[in-house]
């Protein structure tokens, strides 16, 4: 239960726990690849530099116009022109946040798109589809696109990437005159503007620690994050007063903030942790105002995944609040794999095989026994909580756990099933009742699965799955490694001797941010950047295009992908069991993208 009542107190310092190994490390909001992360953006930069559009309203992923710099975008009837009026925001140096600040970002994005962390080539998205951006008045900016778009997709997945930048940042040297860089006021897409923006980006990124031209250069810019005048020009409710390499961060209210909710706290402090037990000890010791309860320390299994049932009795000064992130859990299969003597990819390409694999994932068992009830069944690429975009078909599992059905699927497709052993293809061929094209007789049904260790619940879940697959004769040779190694191996590759990986499970999830509208163009479109398993299907491609560039419903795409199984879907685990001091208000509801809004927080007596 969220406590209520008490008398609001002005001031005070609220401390908040960072996740282990997740200290912010980039202040410049035009995040290069490798720095584009939740800790950098949602938990750090957004507090100082407000995005054009803020996502997350209550516990939903919806556009939150009250916290956005931009008013609701207006799309022309042909879907090619977008007009955006701005709310009245001020930079802390006294200047108004103008339409030209939005153009500045777009100029920066166009010139440096290959470095920008959210840029996705090949899908005709921002900035590739932007023909022009102009400030039609100080408070109105107009985007002209090269083609028709689905307004929902464009706002949620493209405009979601824009953050107005101050004119004061348009410099190429310390102490330069605001606007002297030539990027702020340059015409969008011209060679001269691009050249100027590359120089401005290089200067700003280097000030933030990352030298794109010479990444080996030694630097120690963290020590200047809180003092560098560049980073002190903010339009958000907070400005930085302390930052160190370990992740200790202190922010104080921006007195010039013109947004809707002014901070009540005197200070907001982010505290780094080495590991979950260390963080939990701090919660036990009462050192944190907002921390989290590691799932291993949750004393009770819940019967309702949306309600926390247990609390460590030593934590009587805290209440628990939970939330699920806007993400879906999965692991990829390599459709091009040359493993298993060249046939692994060919087996994976068979829908009946993927159906058998998915049928053997006992989601209810994993949720109950491994996640202590704090999980949700997930049967497709759309996040299950909140069920905003969940179609009726995706609410029920089309492949519920059923070992007998899985065995029947395999045996009816030419495999001799050997529970606990290794199935063998005995009917080669591509006809009905045969193993499939390119799978010779005698082929064993065996795969290499590498998975990331370090998160106990995920390891337990994988072991549950392997045991289940084994029961139907799908033999898994498991190896373990670190998250980075596993995700590094899961790289899209063309068929050939070096394309050997078969299954990689990094115990992660795909967070739909900044691609808030879960249309999947980055994941499942042929050749997409994050289509690690090289899944390719013309129907899927057309459905994705329909949701991106016309007003086709997401439901068609979703219903198709639920059955197609381009990846193996796994149950969603709760993102956080957040521990909040009883005398701290305003922390809930928590933002589904983990964006922090401590300007809402206040202590009571």
């Amino acid at each position: 239960m969220v406590p209520t009542g008490g008398t609001k107190q002005a001031g005070g310092t609220a401390t908040w726990a960072e996740l282990p190994g997740s200290a912010p490390n980039m202040i410049f909001p035009f995040d290069p690849s490798g720095f584009f992360s939740v800790p950098n953006i949602n938990e750090f930069q957004y507090l100082m530099y407000r995005p054009l559009y803020w996502f997350g309203q209550g516990a939903t992923p919806n556009l939150n116009l009250s916290l956005s710099v931009g008013k609701e975008p207006s799309y022309s009837t042909d879907g090619k022109t977008i007009t955006i009026d701005l709310n009245n925001y001020k930079w802390s140096n006294g200047e108004t946040v103008t339409a030209q600040d939005v153009v500045f970002w777009m100029n920066m994005m166009e010139a440096n798109k290959t470095i920008y962390g959210a840029y996705v080539p090949g899908i005709n998205a921002i900035p590739d589809d932007v023909a022009n951006v102009v400030a039609t008045s100080p408070s109105e900016v107009t985007f002209t696109l090269t083609g028709t778009v689905n307004p929902n997709w464009y706002t949620y997945n493209n405009l979601s990437q824009v953050t107005p930048l101050p004119k004061a940042w348009d410099i190429t040297a310390t102490g330069g005159a605001p606007g002297s860089g030539g990027c702020f006021s340059g015409a969008y897409g011209t060679t001269s503007t691009d050249a100027a923006c590359v120089k401005v980006f290089t200067f700003l990124a280097t000030q933030a620690g990352y030298d794109p031209a010479n990444p080996k250069a030694a630097n120690n810019s963290f020590s200047t994050y809180a003092t560098n005048p560049i980073w002190q020009v903010v339009d958000g409710p907070w400005h930085l007063t302390n930052f160190d390499a370990t992740g200790n961060i202190t922010m104080e209210p921006n007195p010039s903030y013109t947004g809707p909710v002014k901070p009540t706290l005197a200070k907001f402090v982010e505290v780094p942790y080495t590991a979950e037990p260390a963080e939990y000890n701090s919660v036990l010791g009462g050192k944190l105002d907002v921390g989290y309860l590691p799932l291993a320390n949750e004393p009770k299994t819940t019967s309702n995944p949306l309600v926390v049932t247990g609390q460590d009795p030593r934590l009587s000064n805290y209440y628990v609040n939970e939330y699920y992130s806007w993400a879906f859990s999965y692991f990829p299969l390599n459709f091009n794999s040359s493993g298993n003597n060249g046939v692994a990819g060919k087996i994976i390409s068979q829908l009946y095989f993927r159906q058998a694999m998915q049928t053997l994932v006992d989601q209810p068992d994993i949720i109950t026994k491994v996640f202590k009830g704090y999980g949700l069944g997930q049967y497709g690429p759309i996040p299950p909580q909140p069920p905003t975009y969940l179609s009726a078909a995706a609410k029920t599992n089309p492949y519920p756990y059923n070992p007998a059905a899985a065995k029947a699927l395999l045996s009816s497709h030419g495999w001799t099933v050997k529970p606990g052993g290794t199935d063998v293809c005995t009917k080669a061929g591509s006809g009905a009742g045969e193993c499939g094209a390119g799978i010779p007789a005698g082929t064993p049904l065996t795969f290499n699965l590498q998975f990331a260790t370090g998160i106990t619940t995920q390891t337990d879940a994988v072991n549950d799955e392997i045991s289940s697959w084994d029961s139907a004769g799908i033999h898994i040779n498991e190896t373990t490694s670190t998250f980075d190694t596993v995700i590094g191996n899961a790289t899209a590759c063309t068929p050939g001797p070096s394309c050997t990986w078969e299954m990689e499970d990094w115990a992660g999830e795909w967070v739909y941010s900044p691609d808030v509208y879960p249309t999947g163009e980055e994941l499942f479109a042929t050749g997409a950047v994050s289509n690690y398993g090289s899944y390719s299907d013309p129907t899927t491609d057309n459905l994705i295009k329909g949701t991106d560039f016309s007003n086709q419903s997401l439901t068609n795409y979703e219903n198709y992908l639920v059955k197609q199984l381009p990846v193996i879907y796994l149950p969603a685990q709760v993102q956080s069991l957040t521990e909040i001091q009883n005398n701290l208000r305003g922390v809930t509801p928590q933002n589904i993208f983990s964006a922090l809004t401590p300007e809402n927080w206040y202590f009571v007596k």
Binding site: K216, A245, N281, S282
Partner: protein, 318 residues
């Protein structure tokens, strides 16, 4: 002695280069690649190619190693860590003093306690005190540091509120030392285990010394027990401890990863561990370099001090 020292220093350089080459090779055969680890799962092929080009990962390994050594020797540059968005040197400069304080104090504390304990056990050999201290040593020696640390936190910090639940969070040596309430538990955790080890060595060594002829001679000449213990036996008995101390220097520099983790004290140990798990190649090489140099120096210092403490030992030129 000078010749010996020069020879050892030359050997040390060879060892450092060899270890760095080994670590370099191992770091580059880690599957997955540094590019994906640094740039994240959404990195494009173009970004990965750019990363590899800018960081010379697209060049032969021996060329990469040469460029690394060149940067190290001529520019004192250990490279840049994408994971930390900092120069490796800057991060190590921030972490190393903290680890030196934490592990250094615990080592000194262990020495100060373990030597008298070892002597006391010899004086009270096969008496209840000896048995109790032996049992205590075995318990602490066998106890994992994460367990001891966690128990101390739960009882002395969470329940009794006597000490802080975490180590000092200051970024400078001064601010760390200014928070003794935070330092006590991690120091006790580290020292307890080291004391258990050192005191066992001290007891054995002292027992052996007490049976030597020169001790019998000293007694025959009328030296009292105190004089025999501290002026005759101790000087010889301390030699194994000197060796242990020398071998402890790498640990003092490399950190104590488990204790650092439990007490939320990010030092060199945790830095090395995270560099390995994050495929942060420049940071891994940087911490390996520091650890290698410390190991070589520790070993060299132990050899030299050994000769100083024990006059019978001479490293004469053969």
């Amino acid at each position: 002695m000078i010749g010996f020292t020069i020879r050892r220093i030359i050997q040390a350089f060879v060892v450092i280069i060899a270890v760095m080459l080994l670590v370099f090779l191992l770091a580059h055969v880690i599957p997955g690649g540094a590019a994906r680890a640094a740039l994240g799962p959404r990195a494009t092929r173009l970004q990965i190619a750019q990363f590899n080009r800018l960081n010379n990962y697209d060049r032969p390994i021996i060329v990469q190693f040469w460029l690394y050594i060149e940067g190290l020797i001529w520019h004192h540059n250990l490279g840049y860590s994408y994971h930390y968005n900092q120069g490796v040197t800057a991060v190590i400069q921030e972490r190393l003093p903290k680890t030196l304080v934490l592990v250094g104090i615990s080592t000194i504390l262990a020495l100060v306690v373990a030597v008298p304990l070892g002597i006391l056990q010899v004086v009270r050999r096969n008496k209840p005190v000896d048995y109790a201290l032996t049992a205590g040593s075995f318990i602490f020696y066998a106890m994992p540091s994460f367990l001891l640390g966690t128990l101390l936190i739960l009882y002395l910090a969470v329940d009794v509120h006597l000490f802080s639940v975490e180590a000092p969070q200051g970024q400078t040596v001064g601010s760390i030392l200014a928070d003794p309430r935070g330092l006590v538990l991690p120091e006790v955790t580290l020292a307890a285990i080291t004391i258990a080890s050192f005191s066992r060595y001290m007891r054995s060594s002292m027992m052996e010394a007490m049976t030597e002829d020169y001790v019998r001679t000293a007694r025959a000449k009328g030296a009292n027990t105190t004089r025999v213990l501290f002026f005759h036996a101790l000087r010889n008995a301390i030699i194994p401890i000197v060796t242990l101390l020398g071998l402890s220097i790498p640990a003092i520099v490399s950190g104590a990863v488990i204790t650092e983790t439990v007490f939320n004290f990010p030092g060199m140990g945790l830095l090395t561990y995270q560099a390995a798990t994050n495929t942060d190649v420049p940071m891994l090489l940087g911490t390996a370099f520091v650890a290698t140099v410390a190991t070589v120096i520790g070993s060299l210092a132990a050899d030299i001090i050994y000769a100083v403490v024990d006059p019978r030992v001479r490293y004469a030129k053969r």
